[in-house]
Symmetry: C2
Subunit: 320 residues, 2 copies
């Protein structure tokens, strides 16, 4: 009988519980940050809320909240940054699902925004979500130090623009024509494509807590490395799910990558080697957090580090 | 013979010359801020540059540069903010021209971005332009004081999101269905629609110089009032041009508003009364700058104030 050990174990919520709790917290922040207006523009905000609220695993938000806990950042400030990142992520999904892009009618188990509303409203809702994401970061409530707010804005711009998410999306779009012209992408090109398309925003999510906490650059770099590896692992796991799962499990159309001839690590490496690569990346991600999990850090920081390490395993083991 | 007077007159360039000079300056800034990358994402940056470079009157950029001159702001800093606003304006035009929105094949006398490239690239280029616009504002080169940079980001978010440009665009889109349901918009509703759709970004352009110059709030409010009035005058003049001019003169498709049953002041007031309203707004805009044009201000500030007053007349008199 060892009550102290039991107490420690009991105080530690499971990863699933922590994710559920954070999702609820970020949901409230998103709800607060997008109030319904009175005018005829209400339809736009309705579409923004439809695209953002009540869905998704909130992995990016979870990364922000846990990263912030490493540096004892006020949870309300962290939740605003988490909400901002979820707005960016949601805008990218809304635009990706458009008929001119991936033409997907299903997202998070419900009709895509352009199906629930219409194409024009979906385009505008994505645009307005992006603007709101930057606006939230620049608001004084996000951090008392304007230098920190500028840093968050600047890094989000880099992660989401031509050198990040949008650039990766463009490469993804030209990949089939490169393949048709006899120049299919190899593993290094696909790694870069994925790093831009989804990796940069995940890395930013992992780093945001260090920016909010004004952490020393060495610690910020460790979180960036963690974010890079977990982002790459996540993307391969996503491609594995697309290749293996059913549409019902995923809440979005399955098997689309292969049908579209998309450049994925699964296509290049095959299922087995892609799975090994994802596991290796997840392990490597966790290893960057060794110093945070060691004695010397605060209890809260140690627990956050352990949760982030557990998340690395989760992203490659999840079934949806 | 009065040489001093002649010297003053000769030192003052015409409004047209000043606009041409500023346009060249902002063109260089835009070019610098969007270098071509090496990777397969080059097509995206090509589309961003196509949508932004070599076109337009650069009125918003001109407002920034002249507003900044009122407070002796470094021109390189002001040019970055001017370029950022032109990126936002360009992104909105790219998305507005999409088939799902206004479906316009012509912009600034050349094929719209989705015609020159493709729809997906145009959507992405608009998205990436918006991200770059915010990023540029947050970069230390824009202002040494991060508080000023945050203020610029925050105000741009407000001016362009659901409470600004995107919100106005949404109202514009629902207007025909309101009219069909027997509730056509009257002059007050159309004034609000235009204030959101184009006014807020023009007002922001007029105010940006005061933000860069850390001007007292009384002066900033005068510039905001100038921006509101010139924005409203500009929009009515734009609608008059659409109703009166030919497509060749405009460099974009003419007569579209009436064809689409759009809610405009011209439709509600008729040509004659709309023209009078535009002139009145232009006069009122100029009057807000009286205190800047008076003795006591620096020569540079006085000249900038006079140029801005001349601009108010120009926006309602221009033929394209």
């Amino acid at each position: 009988m060892a009550p102290p050990v039991f107490a420690i174990v009991a105080s530690r919520e499971s990863l699933a519980d922590a994710m559920t709790r954070t999702a609820a917290e970020v949901e409230r922040a998103l709800d607060d940050l997008m109030p319904m207006p009175d005018g005829a523009e209400a339809r736009l905000v309705e579409a923004m809320r439809y695209a953002t609220l009540g869905g998704g695993k909130r992995m990016r938000a979870f990364l922000v909240m846990q990263g912030a806990a490493l540096f004892n950042v006020d949870r309300r400030c962290a939740a605003r940054v988490a909400a901002s990142i979820e707005m960016m992520h949601a805008y990218s999904l809304v635009h990706d699902d458009l008929p001119a892009m991936d033409d997907d009618d299903l997202r998070r188990g419900k009709p895509s925004t352009h199906k629930a509303f219409d194409e024009a409203t979906a385009i505008l809702a994505g645009d307005a979500l992006q603007a709101r994401a930057f606006e939230v970061l620049a608001e004084p409530d996000t951090h008392s130090n304007p230098e920190a707010r500028c840093e968050l804005v600047l890094a989000l711009g880099l992660a989401s623009g031509a050198r990040g998410m949008a650039g990766g999306q463009m490469i993804d779009m030209v990949a089939p024509s490169l393949a048709a012209a006899g120049n299919p992408m190899g593993a290094p090109e696909i790694t870069r494509l994925q790093a831009l398309k989804t990796g940069r925003l995940i890395q930013y999510s992992a780093e945001a807590g260090a920016m909010l906490g004004r952490a020393p650059s060495a610690q910020r770099h460790l979180l960036a490395a963690y974010g890079r590896d977990i982002g790459a692992a996540f993307q391969i796991a996503d491609d594995l799910l697309d290749a293996e799962a059913s549409t019902g499990d995923l809440g979005k159309t399955a098997g689309k990558d292969a049908a579209a001839g998309k450049a994925t690590m699964v296509a290049v490496l095959g299922l087995e080697r892609a799975r090994i690569q994802a596991d290796r990346l997840a392990e490597q991600a966790a290893s960057h957090l060794d110093s945070f999990a060691e004695a010397g850090s605060s209890d809260e920081a140690r627990q956050a580090a352990e949760t982030l390490r557990a998340l690395a395993t989760y992203v490659v083991r999840r079934r949806s």
